[in-house]
Subunit: 341 residues, 2 copies
């Protein structure tokens, strides 16, 4: 199984941008670099099997792991609250496994052909194997979570995953529902995206011995970060460059997924012109939608919402005394706005 | 959403046979009838949501729950070992939830249109929603398992589910592999079917305070029962009556699934005649295969293996003193051989 079939097609531009992004993350993750490397090692060890066929599939899937934002958040929150314990490492592995499992299943849902510039696992091994591999990773992640000294992590991650699935179901159910309100949109993304960030940050604080108010502040921090992250994802899907993002663009529009710029546009557009917008949205014509959404300032609006969420994420940590790790968490929040992929 | 769209089409024959089967189960489950009703009540309460769309889907899926063999085994094992505790009830709910989640995902894999004589959830709501609903039920089942007084149940069920998925992946991977050995077949069914029975029976014993040897004996009992159950499933798929079984028959053959009668046949048939058998198997022609498999005594052979497994299940419980509950567990094992659906 080739490791990077598309590398020859990659352009210098995207590569340079990705190197720049990697450098930023390296700096942000520096205080927990050793711990994150250990999480990475354990994560790869957990995705294994005696059976060569399954081992091969799991090895392929290991590379679904990208920015490792969830384990990084968990570790940074721990460090900010005083210490990183072996439980933090275990839960970092769990966070990344759960995220990977959702990606494996998402690719089925999205009928995606690409994931991180390589063939997605469903394109490679079929939907059936993808469903089962995702199920295996979910189950094994819960098994791993029980190695912690207390059941809090297992309890919170299983609760978070159950909520994540509800968010995703609501998203599918509201496909092509162009009457969706912002409130409904937020309930969807809080489930499907933000809950796992929030739970990771909260557990990082809690396993460092933080009190309930601080743990809650970290939960809220992760929730706002996750909301902003999803809105930026919406924007990237519409405005990004395919080579940079590494997946098929415009698929949200094609699949009729509700995104914040589109929701804003359909509420902001003059009634007489709404029909043309609806037609472009229903037909999934990204190229036609772009000027229409620019016309109502909908990209600016969505970016503004993401900005305010990041500001809330940062101010929420005021509950803690100022320390260098807290400053870094501010920068992590800012990174969500600046990322290009 | 209609509760039983096919009831008008059901025949008197199958209904009578199913009533008879229900009566047998009622007798076998009698010592834990109250507890099983409580498990059923809690199970339905767990499959709920504030969102009306999701609540509707979960309510529909509740009826995937059929014979409730896994929670019944767990409760009967507990009773046989001395007591049924609130943990048993919780774990009974978990066993049934995990089973339900695998059924939801299996229907996607099998592209099944029917489940228990009604439209399958994937036929009704699509593959995407089915993947996510299954994921939700898995995650929530793990969440529920953590309500127990000790983490053993959560740990064992998550381990069992991870193994179950591996078994299922191996099954998909070996589709249309007509060189499959019996050993490979058993590794597949031990994962995909027997592990959840074995773990349910073992946990029933362990949570009643049984020592390790007894808990292991119950694990083995469940494992042998599960193996036999799957072989009988293979036979029913080939020889059963659709109205009785309540799902599309011959789908194992059509999907190229390795079943014990076919594996036996392809090893027993004279080399000169093997080509015709292989062609019928590859083309998924159930009607052509039936006389061929009869010719090599392959149905009898598979039934014989199932019989011996049930005998092993029963003799394995010799580690316990004779008591009425132990006798009943013998009868539960016999039921696996006698069931018609």
């Amino acid at each position: 199984m080739s490791k990077d079939p598309d590398s020859s097609a990659a352009q210098a531009g995207p590569d340079a941008a990705q190197r720049a992004q990697k450098a930023i993350l390296q700096r942000l993750y520096a205080p927990v670099a050793t711990e994150l490397a250990e999480v990475e090692r354990q994560y790869r060890a957990e995705l294994s099997s005696d059976d060569p066929y399954i081992a091969n599939l799991l090895e392929y899937i290991e590379d679904y792991s990208g920015k490792k934002l969830r384990p990084a958040l968990l570790l940074l929150a721990g460090k900010a609250c005083g210490r990183v314990t072996p439980d933090h490492l275990t839960l970092g592995v769990v966070a990344e496994m759960l995220h990977t499992a959702t990606l494996v299943h998402d690719d089925i849902l999205d009928e995606a052909l690409l994931r991180r510039k390589r063939a997605s696992i469903n394109a490679l091994a079929g939907n059936e194997v993808s469903v089962l591999l995702g199920d295996h990773i979910f189950s094994h992640a819960f098994e791993v979570s029980l190695r912690c000294t207390t059941p809090l992590g297992a309890r919170e991650f299983s609760r978070a995953m159950a909520k994540t699935c509800f968010g995703e179901i609501m998203q599918v159910h509201n496909r092509n529902n162009f009457e969706l309100t912002e409130d409904q949109y937020f309930r969807i993304i809080e489930g499907k995206t933000a809950e796992l960030y929030a739970t990771s940050a909260m557990l990082g604080a809690a396993y460092a011995g933080a009190n309930e108010a601080v743990a809650q502040a970290f939960y809220d921090y992760g929730m706002n970060l996750g909301r902003a992250f999803q809105i930026m994802d919406d924007l990237l899907d519409l405005l990004g460059e395919e080579a940079l993002v590494g997946k098929t663009l415009g698929s949200d529009v094609e699949k009729g997924k509700p995104t914040l710029p589109l929701i804003h546009h359909l509420h902001a557009i003059a009634p007489a012109q709404r029909k043309a917008s609806l037609e472009a949205a229903r037909a999934g014509r990204r190229a036609d939608l772009l000027p229409l959404l620019h016309g109502t300032g909908s990209f600016k609006y969505a970016a503004g919402v993401a900005n305010r969420l990041v500001a809330s994420a940062k101010s929420g940590l005021d509950v803690m005394a100022v320390n260098p790790l807290r400053d870094l968490l501010d920068e992590v929040a800012d990174f969500v706005l600046a990322r290009e992929a």
